[in-house]
């Protein structure tokens, strides 16, 4: 319990830090703390795999891209430099959307008691040792059936939640294609010209003098 309280406080504090920091890099550091605290929270729920994936994917890959972009675009500009404050205009819709989200979240949480309901906490209700043998991976001794084990996780992902999983993958694929279309535009010759080797290769190979 004490661990949970500490983690919860750290989570909320860092989340507030993310949106209140003036400097984007400070926001990133706060978000990193947030992710780390969340991963530890997963660990306390014996969601080892989830915790690790949380760290690898979110902190190790996604958040570092934030740092990359911020560093590349120059983080010297603070919020005020970018023009008039538009926060006032978006305040009302933001509050409405936020309240709606809260209602949906509360509803889902309240109705997630039913294990077969597949509510938002459905992932936690997977029964150990489900019948499907679809996973090619043979299950690690001692880990099978343990709550949060990788085998269960994979099995749930590819059976119970196959459709959402594939849909999500599809959405990400669309994003990737979109990026390629947006960034990779231009005639192929022109691109080629831009990246051609700047230094001509020497005709003869130079032999080291002995």
């Amino acid at each position: 319990m004490a661990v949970f309280v500490i983690l919860a406080v750290a989570l909320i504090a860092s989340a507030v830090g993310v949106i209140s920091a003036k400097n984007p890099v400070h926001s990133v550091v706060a978000l990193l703390t947030n992710f780390a605290a969340l991963a530890v929270l997963y660990l306390t729920l014996s969601g080892e795999f989830l915790a690790m994936i949380q760290m690898i994917v979110y902190s190790g890959a996604i958040l570092i891209l934030f740092v990359f972009v911020i560093a590349l675009l120059g983080a010297g500009t603070s919020v005020g430099d970018l023009g008039p404050n538009r926060l006032a205009k978006v305040m009302t819709p933001a509050v409405i959307v936020g309240a709606l989200a809260l209602v949906v979240l509360g509803y889902a949480l309240l109705h997630a008691q039913n294990p077969s309901g597949g509510g938002m906490l459905g992932a936690a209700t997977i029964l150990p040792g489900s019948q499907s043998q679809i996973a090619a991976v043979t299950i690690m001794p001692g880990a099978d059936g343990a709550f949060g084990s990788i085998a269960d996780f994979g099995r749930a992902l590819f059976t119970t939640y196959l459709l959402p999983f594939e849909l999500t993958a599809f959405v990400l694929l669309i994003a990737v294609i979109g990026v390629v279309v947006l960034a990779g535009g231009g005639a192929p010759e022109r691109r080629k010209a831009a990246i051609r080797e700047p230094i001509a290769k020497p005709k003869r190979r130079m032999e080291p003098t002995r």
């Binding site: 570092i64 740092v67 690690m140 990788i150």
Partner: protein, 330 residues
Amino acid sequence: MIEALPLWLLVAIKSLVLLIIVITLFAYTMLAERKVLAYMQLRVGPNKVGPWGLLQPAADALKMIFKEDLTPSSADPLIYRLAPFIAVFTALLAYAVIPFSQGEHGPWSIANVNAGILFVFAITSMGVYGISLAGWASGSKYPLLGSVRATAQMISYELAMTMSVIGVILQASTTSLSGIVEAQSRMWFIVPQFLGFLIYIITAVAETNRVPFDLVEAESELVAGFHTEYSGLRFGLFFIAEYINMITVSCLATLLFLGGWSGPGSSGHPLLGLLYFVIKVFAFLFFYIWLRGTLPRLRYDRLMAFGWKVLLPLATLNLLVTAIVVALWY
């Protein structure tokens, strides 16, 4: 007697011992690097402090401690100070799960977790924050360029690295590091996973920012890259982190591909197993130093092209083939 100790005390003692060992190992890896490089360049390397220069690390540590700790006025003070600690912290944390030998009561490690290999990857993927935040927080252009390079390079190569390791995980059908070693009792994974091994070795060099992939601190272009502005102990921390990361990836390579502590007559003899493990790790460390003494630095666009156009497709292919083989024959 050991059983009588409370768990937290046991873990604390283990951690302390390991910390001392790892730091000592770091110090002497550094010395070995200087010596080997010197020998490859027809020099003799440090030989004045102590017999054969063996006390050189102590002298270096003293020097680092007594150097002035500068913070540039353009730096972001908080993150500038935080970054070296992130680097060292993440570098050391990986040792929480790395097993070194197999005893009667289980592997010799601080913690034997099921998701061991994932833990190591999760932790090492944090290591890049130390570098990129340091470069950004220094508030000058060379560190910034270095850190931007670091970020791009680490993301690109981490992908191929993870892919190459998933082949091993599939074949061992476990993510526990000691389980992976046990799965290699018949055959070291370097044989069936040779392509994966090659990819792992190359990407590991890139992940630790070592020659020939040390674009991050390319001194001919970027002064010293991300740690240009750092001095004194903070610079020393980055130094420690770099070498410890090097030892970590060597340990991982040993565990994943070279059968860890297994060797002739090692079962039932944990100390012999430890010896095998250490020898294998040292072989990898020597290989790293050897590479540094031999290869010139890659051009940056070639580095990126190599990562994305050669290593990643190869790793994917390796993963695919392994998955099919494992699905059909295991």
